[in-house]
C-alpha cells in the first residue's frame, strides 16, 4: 500500500513539473506585465519585438497622433454640444476612424517584417467593432 501512495506522489510530481515547464514556455510575462500596468507602449514593444529604433519611431508617431486625436475629440465634442445634425457627427467620427486607420498602417509599416500584418490583424477589428459602451479609463503611456 505504501508503494501505491509513493507511486501516486511520483505521478503527481511528474504532472506538476510538466505543467510548470509548459506554463513557463508558453507564458509571455512582458505582455502580461504590460497589460497589468496598462502600458500599451510596453505591450507594443514586447508583442511585436520592436528594437530600440523601431520603438522610438513608433512612440514618436503615437505622440504626434495624440495631437490629431485630441483635435478630432474636440471637434466631435463641439458638434455634440451644439447639437449638430447626426450626419455631421457621423462624418466627424468617420474622419476619426480614417485617421486612426491610417495611423495604425503607418505604425505597422515601421514594424519588423511579418509583425506589421499581425499588428493590423489585432488592432483594426477593434476599431471597426467599437461598440460605444463607454469611455476608456486608461491612456496610452509614453
Amino acid at each position: 500500500m505504501k508503494n501505491f501512495w509513493l507511486t501516486l506522489v511520483v505521478l503527481l510530481a511528474a504532472a506538476a513539473t510538466s505543467f510548470g515547464v509548459f506554463y513557463v514556455v508558453n507564458d509571455a510575462p512582458a505582455i502580461r506585465r504590460a497589460a497589468r500596468e496598462g502600458d500599451a507602449m510596453a505591450w507594443l514593444r514586447a508583442e511585436f519585438r520592436l528594437d530600440d529604433a523601431q520603438f522610438a519611431a513608433i512612440k514618436q508617431l503615437h505622440d504626434n497622433y495624440s495631437l490629431v486625436c485630441s483635435q478630432h475629440c474636440a471637434a466631435i465634442m463641439s458638434a455634440q454640444r451644439r447639437h449638430a445634425p447626426a450626419a455631421e457627427v457621423a462624418a466627424l467620427e468617420q474622419t476619426c476612424v480614417d485617421a486612426m486607420t491610417a495611423h495604425f498602417r503607418q505604425v505597422a509599416a515601421l514594424m519588423p517584417p511579418g509583425q506589421g500584418e499581425r499588428y493590423l490583424a489585432i488592432v483594426l477589428p477593434r476599431v471597426s467593432h467599437y461598440t460605444h459602451e463607454g469611455a476608456p479609463t486608461l491612456q496610452v503611456k509614453s
Binding site: 508503494n3 509513493l6 507511486t7 510538466s18 506554463y23 513557463v24 509571455a28 507594443l44 485630441s70 469611455a135
Partner: protein
Amino acid sequence: MKPPPDPDSLSRLLAVWRVAPRKDPQFRPAVFARLSAARPALPWRAYARLHAAALGGALAVALIAGAWVGRDQARTRVAADRDAIAREYVQALDARAMTR
C-alpha cells in the same frame, strides 16, 4: 483415592462428540492479512519494475496531461491580457471613445 476413568466411557464420549465451530467470514482475509503483514515490504524500485508497464503508461498520461493543462492555461491568460491591452490601446487613440 480416585479410581481411574473408565476407558470405555471416554471412547463413547469421543464417539458422540461433534465440533460445531462458529463460522467466521473474516477468517480467510485475516489469515492473508497476517501473511502479507509478515512479508517484508517490497522496495519501491522493485515495485516499479514489477508494474513497469502500468507505471510507464500512468507516467506518460501524467506528463501529457500536465503539459497540456500548463500550455493551455498560459496561453489562455496571455490571450486574455493581450485582448485587454489591445482594446485599451485602440480606445486610447479613438476620439469617439473619449467623447462618450
